[in-house]
């Protein structure tokens, strides 16, 4: 195994074996399981599957025209009553859980009367009965018209510049970039934070000189960066898988997911920007970790530097209201904010190709420069035990070495 992979494996194992990492990784699944368990428990305890009763004094409802149940769904039975008295009696005898009465003037007033005992009808009851009434209202119309009326409007907007489609049903394509931006950004900053800690601790431990006689700086830093990113992605994967499993319990979201088309274009874009963006953050952290005397000092400096990376989160309101605002365009092109801004903007509309291209070129160029600079600062700073590398000293190391 080459030294690069040895370092990566060593760092990976070091992080994932830490108690804090294990707790942090397990906390989300356990928390979600607990939450879902409690929700299920509450729902089960309050679930009422008694039939829904109705009295149709208009004569527009057909008891047999009930909506078809989905495969994994059991519909609540809907039962007709000849008159209000028999319906109320059934309600009082708890044969039904709720009674809707459609008075003769319903077509004019669009008002119904509702009877229930103690608890008002649940959302399930409203949804079930709403479907039933809507189905009856379109009964007799041509099938395609009935389908259109039941489904409602779905405006699809085509963007000719990017050949992309935006519609209500593709809402997931808006949510996904939000979630992905957050998760990948978390991974980047988390791995970079680990890297900062590892470099600063390496310096504190006086290990650097020994390691540099076995490894090139590239192997040492590259291996550490890969190992730490892998550890963070491991944690993230556990969290994402858990979240997806949790979504199984949220049928409306699943419905949206089922309609969604996998946005390969977005995933490609994400990959294209993610790796140079992570490398840029990692290089910045290496430079800070090498220049600082100890961990605390490194964290203070990195806290300020991080603001340059998380700036798009502060301007998210502007991003939503006007994704093409000059400030947003600037953040698209600025290397530290490019990844996050591009990722968030993608879901809100199309990004002009020239902006994407220029942004990527600037990002990659800045990353290449930062790797070069970090390597020099690393060489100059790593062996300065007990004394920080000043900004002036860092600049001198860029010129001199």
């Amino acid at each position: 195994m080459s030294n690069f992979w040895l370092v990566a494996k060593h760092e990976y194992r070091n992080v994932v074996m830490r108690r804090g990492f294990v707790i942090g990784t397990a906390a989300v699944p356990l928390g979600l399981a607990l939450l879902i368990g409690m929700v299920i428990l509450v729902e089960r305890s309050s679930e009422n599957r008694l039939p829904i009763g109705y009295v149709d004094q208009v004569g527009f409802l057909d008891e047999n025209a009930q909506p078809a149940a989905a495969d994994d769904e059991e519909r609540i039975e809907i039962q007709a009553f000849a008159d209000e008295a028999s319906g109320v009696q059934a309600l009082e005898q708890e044969e039904i859980q709720v009674l809707f009465v459609f008075p003769p003037d319903y077509p004019e007033t669009v008002k119904t009367e509702l009877y229930y005992l103690e608890k008002p009808p649940s959302n399930d009851v409203w949804r079930e009965f709403d479907d039933f009434v809507r189905l009856n209202l379109v009964r007799g119309l041509p099938e395609d018209v009935a389908y259109r009326m039941l489904e409602g409007t779905n405006v699809v907007v085509y963007d000719t510049a990017s050949d992309r489609e935006f519609s209500e049903s593709s809402i997931i394509n808006v949510i996904l970039p939000m979630v992905a931006s957050f998760f990948f950004f978390f991974a980047t900053m988390s791995a970079a934070g680990y890297l900062l800690g590892v470099i600063a601790t390496e310096k504190e431990n006086r290990m650097m000189e020994t390691l540099l006689t076995s490894l090139t700086p590239g192997q040492l830093i590259g291996g550490k960066a890969l190992g730490l990113l892998s550890a963070t992605l491991t944690q993230l994967t556990v969290h994402i898988v858990t979240a997806l499993l949790a979504l199984k319990f949220a049928s409306p979201v699943i419905e949206a997911l089922q309609k969604a088309v996998i946005p390969w274009e977005y995933l490609g874009l994400l990959a294209l920007f993610f790796f140079p963006a992570y490398t840029l953050v990692a290089a910045v952290m290496v430079a800070i970790g090498s220049a600082a005397v100890e961990m605390q000092q490194a964290q203070q400096v990195s806290g300020i530097v991080n603001l340059f990376f998380i700036a798009p989160f502060f301007l998210v309101a502007l991003l939503f209201s006007n994704p093409n605002h000059p400030i947003i365009v600037f953040m698209t092109l600025f290397p530290t904010t490019a990844f996050l801004t591009v990722s968030l903007r993608w879901g809100l509309g199309s990004i002009p190709t020239w902006q994407l291209g220029l942004s990527w070129v600037i990002l990659v160029g800045s990353t290449a420069f930062m790797i070069w600079a970090a390597a020099r600062i690393f060489r100059a700073g790593m062996l300065r035990y007990g004394q920080p590398l000043t900004f002036k000293g860092a600049l001198a190391s860029l010129r001199n070495q």
């Binding site: 370092v7 431990n205 000189e209 006689t213 076995s214």
Partner: protein, 306 residues
């Protein structure tokens, strides 16, 4: 072929000339001492040898040429500023460091068992490094230097933090390594250890190698630069004398380079209240030579020792 050959090395950090002109060569199967006062340029020279710093001028040949990764694997390096991962287990840390030097895990773990036993650290294999005493950590670092059986061993102050028993053990181990044909470069301020272990030395002062050669030859060249006397009176502040020490009832005087012992004797004889029972030339210790050369600045090189 020399194991290491350093020729007219120079390195500057901004306005500071850390190394001006250092040259020496190391033979296979010898323990080579690198001496010099603090800030003389020893560590910078070692770091240039180890390819941590690039020299501004001069050339370095290690194990037959420029230092590359395969050659780095043949070097064991115990730097002056050293440590281990404090929050990790001793055994795992040493195995990892040996694997970085090219050993497979099984071999590394096998050899580690033997070294831990020899250094009486077997019971600490599964303990975290931070739980070990300073001396134990020092022994662990020596194991990390030797575990991959390097051809060239570079050690900076190897005896610091060791008790006399472990110092003796480490000395014995270095002698074994030398007898096995390995070259050892040892940088230390403990002159008696250098005298006991080293075949040859280089003395670096103010960035220059000012003294270089076999220990016995150097001592022979400096004979007459120290005087031992017995008597009563004030033996301090004598012209031509760099340092006066009292040893077991005798006085040991380290002379300036070029100072004539007869002139010293005359100066003492002319002093009031001084009575001399015995006055003889002493074989200078490396300590005397170190002080003579360092306090006389560049006289060493002027005297033709390099």
């Amino acid at each position: 072929m020399h194991t290491v050959e350093v020729s007219h090395l120079a390195k500057r950090f901004g306005d500071i000339e850390a190394v001006v002109d250092v040259s020496f060569a190391i033979e296979p199967g010898e323990i080579f001492g690198m001496l010099g006062p603090n800030g003389a340029g020893k560590t910078t020279t070692i770091r240039m040898m180890m390819d941590i710093f690039k020299p501004d001028a001069g050339s370095i040949s290690v194990l037959g040429g420029p230092l590359d990764l395969p050659k780095k694997r043949r070097i064991g390096y115990l730097p002056e500023e050293r440590g281990l991962y404090k929050d990790q287990k001793l055994g795992a840390t040493l195995t990892y460091l040996a694997m970085l030097k090219g050993l497979d895990q099984k071999t590394a773990e096998g050899r580690l068992g033997q070294w831990l036993e020899r250094f009486d650290l077997t019971d600490y294999r599964q303990k975290k490094v931070e739980e070990l005493s300073k001396g134990m950590q020092q022994k662990a670092q020596i194991i990390a230097t030797l575990l991959h059986e390097p051809d060239l061993i570079v050690i900076d102050e190897p005896f610091s933090g060791l008790d006399p028993v472990n110092t003796r053990l480490v000395k014995r181990i270095f002698e074994e390594q030398r007898d096995a044909g390995r070259s050892i470069i040892m940088s230390t301020h403990q002159m008696y250890q250098v005298e006991a272990l080293c075949n040859r030395i280089v003395l670096i002062n103010e960035g220059r190698s000012v003294l270089y050669g076999r220990v016995e030859e150097i001592k022979r060249n400096f004979a007459g630069n120290a005087v031992e006397l017995k008597g009563q009176g004030d033996f301090t502040e004598i012209p031509g004398v760099l340092e006066t020490r009292q040893l077991n009832g005798s006085w040991h005087l380290a002379l300036e380079i070029g100072a004539d012992p007869q002139d010293v004797f005359r100066a003492l004889a002319n002093r009031d209240g001084v009575k001399i029972d015995r006055f003889e030339l002493a074989e200078p210790s490396l300590d005397d030579i170190f002080i003579s050369v360092v306090q006389d600045g560049n006289h060493g090189s002027e005297a033709g020792h390099v």
